[in-house]
Structures are given as C-alpha cells and as structure tokens.
Amino acid sequence: MDRYAEQRLFGFLARASAALIVAVLLLVVGVTIFRGGRVFLTDPAVAITPPGSRYMLDGGGGFLHAVLGSLFIVVPATVVATTLSLSTAVFLQSDYSSERTSDVINMFLNVLWGTPPIVYGVFVLTVIIAVGAQTSLIFGIVAIAIFQYPIMTRYADEALQSAPDAVKEASYGLGATRFETARVTIRAALPGIIAGVIMGFARGIGDAATVLFTAGRSTQMPGGPFEPATTLPILIFEQAASFNAEVRSHAYAASFVLIVAVLALIIASKLLAGRYARFAPGGRQ
C-alpha cells in the first residue's frame, strides 16, 4: 500500500468513526424518543399522576413521585454544590492560595472527579447507617451535591482562569479588596460558570448510582425531607426490566421526560453562555 492509499484509507476511517458516533447518538435519542414518546404522548398525564398503591405490581397511576423527587433532590443539591464549588474555585485562584496549595487541592479534586458515583452512594449510605437514620430525601441531596461538587468546581475554575488578568488588575488598582475583586472576576467569568452549573444540574438529574441507596427507592409521593424519595433515573433502573408491560412502559415514558429535560438543559446552557458573554471583556456585546 503506497502512502496515498494509506492516506485515503485513514481519511475514510476517521470520517467513518465520526459518522458512526453521530449515528449511535441518533439511535439512542431516537429509540428513547420513539419508544418513550409513544407512551408519554398518548397519555401525558402519566407524569403528573401520583402512583397507585400497588404501583410496582400493576403500574396504576403515574410517576409524579419520581418527577417531584428528582426536582426536590437535584435543585437543592445544585444550590449547595454551586456555593461550595464556586468558593473552592475562587480559593484556587492565585489571590488566595499559593501555586503549591492549589496544585495539591487540584490533585484531590481530580481524584474526586474520577471517583465512580457508586462510591459516593456507598459513602453516604455508611454515614446513614452510622447516624442511625433511614434513606431519605435529605441524604439524596447530600449524595448528589457531593457528586456534583468536583464537576462544577472544574468548570468554575476553568472559567475563572480564563477571565482576563486585566479585570483583576484594574480592580486591585482601584483599591478593591480580594473579595471585591473576586466578585468582579466571577462576573467576568459568568458564562463559563453558568454553563458549569447547568452541566452539573444535568449530570445530577441523570445520575442513579449515587441516589440508589441514599434516597430510598420509594414508590410513594415524597413526604418530607426525612422520608424516602425516588428520582427518575432510579425509576427507570427499577422498572426497565419489569415483567409487567404497564410498569415497563412507565420506565420508557420516564426516559422520554429525562432525555428531553437533559437536552433542554444543554441547549439552555449554550444559549445562556452566549447571553452572559456580554459581561466578559472582549465578549459579544
């Protein structure tokens, strides 16, 4: 094979790989939307109906409990994780920590970032056992917040680092304190930070492994912060292989709701990042 044939071959393979990946994505989204949409669109009320008393057996009612559970768990968790991760990211900038310190902390963050979600689930479960509590909404929030924290810190840190130094220098030049300067820097880095928060939210709402043992696989409406709850991914996981066709179809409908939510979040993140780019110096006006 001469070098030009080789070039053609690999050029073709590179295109084919990219095409394969796009095709797989279309297949995954298509199957979810087709199979789930067929159930969901014929009876959209299934997402806002509370489950019946023998839900796991006959699929009576709907899965409002999982929709609400997802929101009640992921929204507070995202708020907590955003506060913590933004603070950590500000600390990692050179104003507060030496290069050495931030290197060490970054190393730990990388390890946390790569930690399998199931480990967080097991960790929170051992805490639950240690304090003698039961699986409940509040521990679901804790588990998801821990899971989101390293992801969102990474986005926030990258955004803050890419904010131009001129902003910082100008702020210090006017006699601002470090905290006031950090506020200015955060504003300049807002597009990246918001994109990070939304991606963290999307990851949190889609994750099952962390909440599987911590939120409790409840099949009733969430009763309060100390009562068991469930989320959409748990519902899909539990019901996807059920023998009852009705119960199974609810998993399909739930996956439709979930994938639409995640896709909407990604689009929102791109749009918002563009919108807030006006705060960034040199960004779109």
Partner: protein
C-alpha cells in the same frame, strides 16, 4: 466620591467605618474561602477513612488474598470471593476500551484535523450531547436494542449461545458511553498543538496522514494517553449499565457472552437484600474502597505517564 458635605464630621466618621466593614467582609470571606478550599481535601479524607473503617470487619475476618482469589461468592454462608466480579470487570473494561479507543481517536482526528466550518461545530456538539446523556438511558436503550441484537444475531453468528444479557452487551454499551469523553480530551490536546508543527511536516513533503501519524499523534501523545487512562477509570467504575445489562451471575464467566458481574454491579445487586447481615455490608463497602483505590491509581498513573511522555515526546 462622597461630596455631600452637609456635616464634615459625619463623613469623617463614616469613612473608617466603611473601610472597617469592607475589611471585616474581606476577613470573614477569606475564612470561608479557605474552608471551601480545604473542603475538597476533607471530603476525600472523610470518604477514604469512612470506607476503610467500615471495611475492617471483613478484612479482619477473611484474609485479603483469599477474598481476591476465591471464586465463591455466597454471602448467605459468609463466603466472599471477589474473583468472579474482578474477572467480569476486567473483561468489560478491556473489551469496551478495545472497541472504544480506536474509534474515539479516529473520530477525534476527524474533528481536529479534517472537519471544517459548520460540520465541525455540528459533530462536536453531537458529541457534547452524547456525553451528557444519563447512563440509565443508555441502559434502557441497551435493553431495547443491544440485548436482542447480541442474543439473536451476534452470538449465533459467532457460533455461540447467549441470552442477550452478558459481558459483550455491557461492553458494547460502555464503549459508546466512554467514547465521547475520550474524544473531547483528545480533540483538546490535538487542537492545542501549534500550526507550525503541521506546516513544517507538510513542508518537508509528508502527506496529511503521515503528518497526523508521526507528528501530531506523537506531540499530542501525553494528552491522548491520559485520556485513555481516564476512560479506563470511567468504564471501571460504571455502575448502572452493568447492573442493568450484565445478568447478575457471580460465577467466573467462561466466555464473553456469558452473564457475569462487575465490582460495581455487585454492590448494586447485593446491597438491597443483604443489608441486614453486617459482614455482607462490610464486604460490599470494601468493594467501594477497592474501586476508589484502583481509580485513584489510574488517575495517578495518568498524571505520571503524562509528565514522563511530555518530557520524551516534546517538540
């Protein structure tokens, strides 16, 4: 700034007060931020210590070597052999990385070097979307599409038998999940290379592919290598997809078409029912610790290799 001079003394008293307040905020906020910075370390330490402490019962009861090499997993009679799950995990990791890595690298080459303009934006945003899809949805699509495909077509075509659920099914789905993750890291390191490298190589008469193969892939090598290692860590710790698709059988799989168990799916499948037995609980928490340590080694290895290769393959 404050030019309203209705009473000079008042302004005089105001100013230090305002400065005091600013300094107070500065001091308080810096405590909070230092706390937040240390939170990352504290969280990691807390996780490790808790898992270690909870694993002590099982490790003091059975020898570590015995647990890692015994293939008998039967919590009801206090037999904890991790070997089937370890073999299953290795099978799944190796198979999905073998399928996913070449495709990921080729697709990354396409995005970084071949695609232009709108096509590039479209393909890379598709990959962003693929990376953000929850794994439970991949599991569901796996149940609908991949399980019948493996059971009815792939296994008979290769002359074996499969119920559809099994190691190959999980590997196929995991290969899809891990690809976008590796692609974006690889594209990043390819795009970070200076154009002079491409120009110099093309200038001495290399074809585009020769440039990619012998110059760009080598210069971006450290980044690509750590992308692969991080991908390993991802597949290794994947939980939901194996739990849904592997069939849950704690025996050493004879062929990749058999049902099996991976370490994370072992936790999921056995935790619910066996919570009441303290020793089982400890055994499963020990699996969590094992996962954490191995992923940590992967990350650490990725960092070391990256540093080493950066020195060797510098341009």
């Amino acid at each position: 700034m404050d030019t309203t001079t209705d009473s000079g003394s008042n302004a005089q008293a105001d100013r230090p007060e305002r400065l005091d307040r600013r300094l107070l905020i500065e001091r308080l906020s810096s405590y909070w931020l230092i706390g937040a910075g240390l939170f990352a370390v504290a969280l990691f330490a807390l996780i490790v210590l808790t898992l270690v402490q909870q694993s002590i019962p099982i490790v003091s009861e059975h020898s570590l070597l015995e647990m890692l090499t015994s293939s008998n997993w039967d919590p009801a009679s206090e037999e904890f052999g991790y070997l089937p799950a370890i073999v299953g995990t290795i099978y799944v990791t190796v198979l999905s990385m073998a399928m996913g890595t070449p495709i990921a690298i080729l697709a990354a080459i396409y995005i970084a070097e071949y695609a232009e303009g709108r096509m590039k934006v479209i393909v890379s945003s598709f990959i962003d979307v693929l990376a953000a899809i929850p794994s439970v949805i991949f599991g569901l699509v796996g149940l609908i599409v991949v399980v019948p495909f493996v059971g009815d077509y792939l296994a008979p075509a290769l002359g074996t038998h499969s119920i559809g659920l099994g190691i190959v099914t999980v590997s196929l789905v995991m290969a899809i999940i891990v690809t976008p993750f590796m692609i974006s890291l690889t594209v990043e390191s390819l795009e970070a290379l200076p154009d002079e490298l491409r120009e110099a190589s093309l200038g001495v008469g290399a074809t585009k592919w020769e440039t990619i193969r012998s110059v760009l892939l080598r210069a971006a090598g450290p980044g690509i290598f750590s992308a692969i290692l991080l991908g390993f860590g991802r597949v290794f710790g994947a939980t939901i997809v194996p739990a849904m698709l592997i069939g849950g059988q704690t025996a050493i799989p004879e062929s990749p078409f058999d049902a099996g168990e991976t370490l994370p799916s072992l936790i999921v499948n056995d935790f619910g029912e066996l919570m009441s037995i303290p020793l089982t609980q400890s055994a499963l928490i020990f699996v969590g610790l094992l996962l954490l340590v191995i992923v940590w080694l992967f990350n650490f290895g990725a960092m070391l290799v990256r540093r080493r290769l950066q020195r060797r393959w510098q341009y």
